[in-house]
């Protein structure tokens, strides 16, 4: 089973790697690139702990082949903070205590990051629907919803200040 060369931009940096076709995106990120932020949870596309951004859409890295990302741009949780400053979603999870054990958090952050671009001013119901592909077994979700609300307000404030 011949390896394939892929060129993929991850968190702004281009990587050229030979991958086995069966290599899943989450394994490629963790084992080839040492980006261990995306977690391997259920491995069946239910839990969302492996959520990353591929070409501007949220996907589950456990059910996506690395070879399919040839030419793609991938963003992982390691790429969220810029210049040592937390992204608004990270700040929200920190301020609102949107995590306990933290296992689901990288996936939650990456989904929240994309969701707030899809819907910058969501209702609570829309947040719950938008985040429904990510499971958390600690928090009961209440503080996760608050964290996303915090981030939405922060991002809107930043946008206003920039305008």
């Amino acid at each position: 089973m011949a390896k394939k060369m892929i060129s993929v931009k991850v968190n702004g940096r281009t990587h050229e790697e030979a991958v086995e076709p069966r290599t899943l995106l989450v394994h490629f990120l963790r084992e080839k690139l040492n980006l261990t932020g995306a977690h391997i949870g259920c491995e069946t596309s239910h839990c969302g702990a492996c959520t990353v951004d591929v070409d501007g859409r949220s996907v589950k890295g456990c059910t996506h082949l690395a070879v399919q990302c040839d030419g793609s741009e991938v963003l992982t949780v390691e790429g969220l903070a810029q210049g040592g400053v937390l992204h608004a979603v990270q700040e929200g999870f920190y301020k609102e205590h949107g995590l306990q054990c933290g296992f689901c958090t990288p996936g939650m952050l990456m989904r929240a990051y994309r969701f707030l671009q899809e819907n910058p001013n969501p209702t609570e119901e829309e947040i719950r629907a938008g985040m429904s592909g990510n499971l958390c077994r600690c928090t009961g979700y209440q503080n996760i919803v608050k964290a996303v609300q915090y981030a939405a307000a922060r991002l809107q404030q930043t946008a206003k200040e920039a305008a």
């Binding site: 089973m1 011949a2 394939k4 086995e20 076709p21 069966r22 290599t23 899943l24 394994h27 491995e43 069946t44 596309s45 239910h46 969302g48 959520t51 859409r57 949220s58 996907v59 589950k60 059910t63 996506h64 082949l65 070879v67 399919q68 989904r111 969701f115 629907a129 938008g130 429904s132 592909g133």
Partner: protein
């Protein structure tokens, strides 16, 4: 869990994909969104020697109106069905239903064509395509042919798609004025398959039902068209009595398997309830 090893092929056109399928034969599987096939490969329920990835064939994506028909590329993902102004205006049933399929991330990968061609009675698009009277376009080495949804689903994981063919397009009649539709799906949680689901499309002529089509999800070896339930509505006034006889006729054809979602009796009762609710919701929209 890592899938077994395979060779990966990435055609750029339908013709190239059909040629690959022809040369690689039964050892090859087509890869659409991958959210059924990759989990099955991880569990070794499927071990294809070759995957032919359809994701780079841009001609297989997109939604367009062609007269009174809406043509949907087989590789169009669920989130693109939801976002489509054409479907919102002309076939709103698909927009409503796609929101009930899987979760936001999976809807970025899962495709309408993959959902249909997989032949799983638990998938939602088979029953939807029965209710919509959809036609499927199949491309093979000798060109294209079309098969009605009514004639496509032959058994669990068995369809009219030949081994050397690819489902390329789903053609759906655009809704005529005063058409109402609804999909009701009982599920335990986000991302679950239906315990039972019902898709209803109907049109009223005054107080009487002029047109009705009903498809059922996950209550038999294939998605089911509830033709007797349709007959119980057509030509009748839409009232408690006709809705109840339609629900009873739908329940009469249910043949679900017992599993963790419930036993036969429960699933059959829930199918009846989904039919009642979907008829009422569709009727409210048919005014």
């Amino acid at each position: 869990m890592i899938p077994p090893a395979f060779d990966y092929h990435v055609p750029r056109s339908v013709g190239e994909a059909v040629a690959l399928l022809g040369s690689l034969g039964a050892d090859a599987k087509l890869l659409a969104g991958g959210h059924s096939l990759l989990p099955m490969m991880k569990l070794r329920f499927a071990q294809p020697a070759h995957l032919i990835d359809l994701n780079r064939i841009s001609a297989l994506r997109g939604i367009r109106e062609d007269g009174a028909t809406v043509r949907i590329g087989a590789m169009t993902v669920e989130n693109d069905l939801i976002a489509s102004p054409v479907l919102q205006a002309r076939v709103p049933l698909l927009v409503e239903a796609a929101k009930l399929i899987a979760d936001p991330q999976v809807r970025n990968r899962g495709t309408i064509g993959g959902d249909i061609a997989h032949g799983d009675p638990a998938n939602d698009h088979p029953a939807l395509s029965l209710a919509l009277d959809a036609t499927f376009v199949l491309a093979g080495p000798d060109g294209e042919r079309t098969v009605k949804a009514d004639d496509f689903f032959l058994g669990t994981y068995v369809t009219a798609l030949a081994e050397n063919e690819i489902l390329t397009e789903i053609r759906v009649p655009a809704f005529a004025p005063k058409t109402g539709s609804s999909y009701h799906k009982l599920k335990r949680k986000t991302g679950d398959w239906a315990t039972a689901g019902a898709a209803v499309v109907l049109r009223l002529d005054g107080a009487r039902v002029a047109h009705a089509r009903i498809g059922l999800t996950n209550v038999g070896p294939t998605a089911l068209r509830a033709a007797d339930a349709e007959a119980a509505l057509i030509g009748k006034p839409l009232d408690d009595a006709s809705i109840e006889s339609a629900a009873q006729a739908a329940m009469a054809i249910c043949d679900p398997a017992d599993d963790l979602r419930g036993d036969r009796e429960y699933k059959t009762a829930m199918a009846g309830q989904m039919v009642r609710r979907a008829i009422r919701a569709a009727a409210a929209r048919a005014q």
